[in-house]
């Protein structure tokens, strides 16, 4: 890849999805673009980029941008946030919402493990009022990730990172060397392609938003807009869950951290969502 090609790639990722791509990480670009070039029928990455410049085709540009997203995820990653949702947040919201569904959004869900973990949690949560419905939504900017998420099919390696064995035998079926989630859990999650860097005003309302290890992959300049977009989707008593070491403080005053609960943020009552 030439320096110009790298600059083009970095600029496209930033412009389209607010993605921060380090121009020094050529090995990362090559490991992502190589398979994409083959899938798209190009002989090499150079041909792919040449094709991109000539065709300027939206679908191809998006394939390139999406190939550069971070896909690192795991079932029940960091565990604590899931325990909090199951033991505290869901029972509380269940009392407050009555027959209104509780909506949880896994924003930047990658290959779906987080959304499915939430779906398993919703099955396990005790002390919910009768009639409580929990709806789970997973979104990502990368179509290929969403396709895998929707399939509910995971490798033996993936199901051993964070997923308790009892939940594996309870909710998965073994198919050759892979494991497939039961239709029951798969049907609990709805998937949508959402670009967090775009306008979020039409995404709807969510009571709990998981947006973990996403901000750090975004350009600094765009983090505030993303967080305020998420704030606008949360009711006053909703919660935002960020990854370990991530914070909204110093970026926006839309949220305040919940004390003693690292990663958990509540809407700041003083913050008014712009109309």
């Amino acid at each position: 890849m030439t320096a110009d090609d790298i600059q083009l790639l970095v600029a496209l990722c930033k412009a389209r999805a607010g993605l921060r791509v380090d121009p020094a990480k050529t090995y990362l670009m090559e490991s992502r673009l190589g398979p994409l070039a083959r899938r798209e029928g190009y002989n090499s990455i150079d041909d792919l980029i040449a094709g991109l410049k000539v065709r300027r085709e939206d679908a191809l540009i998006w394939s390139v941008v999406e190939s550069m997203t971070l896909n690192e995820t795991a079932f029940f990653r960091d565990r604590t946030p899931f325990d909090q949702v199951r033991d505290d947040i869901l029972p509380t919201l269940s009392r407050l919402r009555g027959n209104e569904p509780i909506r949880i959004w896994s924003a930047g869900c990658s290959t779906g493990q987080e959304a499915y973990s939430l779906a398993m949690i919703a099955e396990e949560a005790k002390d919910l009022e009768t009639g409580t419905r929990v709806e789970i939504y997973g979104s990502d900017v990368a179509e290929r990730c969403l396709e895998k998420a929707q399939s509910g099919l995971y490798t033996q390696f993936e199901v051993q990172r964070g997923l308790p064995i009892r939940l594996l035998v309870k909710h998965f079926e073994k198919i050759e060397d892979s494991w497939r989630l039961s239709p029951r859990i798969r049907q609990r999650v709805r998937w949508r392609r959402i670009n967090l860097a775009a306008d979020l005003s039409a995404v709807g309302r969510f009571d709990i938003i998981f947006c973990r290890y996403v901000l750090s992959a975004l350009e600094e300049g765009i983090r505030r807009r993303v967080l305020e977009g998420l704030a606008a989707a949360l009711p006053a008593d909703g919660f935002l869950v960020l990854g370990k070491g991530e914070t909204a403080e110093g970026i926006t005053d839309a949220f305040r951290p919940v004390s003693g609960r690292p990663g958990l943020f509540a809407r700041d009552p003083a913050y008014r969502v712009a109309a």
Binding site: Q160, I165, V169, G243
Partner: protein, 126 residues
Amino acid sequence: MKTCLLVDDSRVIRKVARRILEDLGFEIAEASDGLEALAWCRAAMPDAILLDWNMPVMNGLDFLRQLRTEPGGDTPAVIFCTVESEPDRIREALDAGAAEYIMKPFDGDIIAAKFAEVGLVMDRAA
């Protein structure tokens, strides 16, 4: 320091697992079959046991069933680590008292995640 007994008839597997578990802060003992493992447990009950299934002399499942009848034998957290990956076999192991279950091949992340799952090590960093 917490102790972990590694039970596997493969020296290579024991060596790999030993390195990972020592990094997680365990003191390690090794046995190459279920009977040898029982002898260890009768001498000094470990906090955790990483247990292969298919071994000569006494297999892992028979060992686990015997262990649970021994004095103090209900305390160690037993984590299977085996090529057996059929859901029915996994259920059999859980019914016999296994706390967690690793399907080979494994790596350090999987071992750390499973030991965190049973509360024997702190949750791994993100």
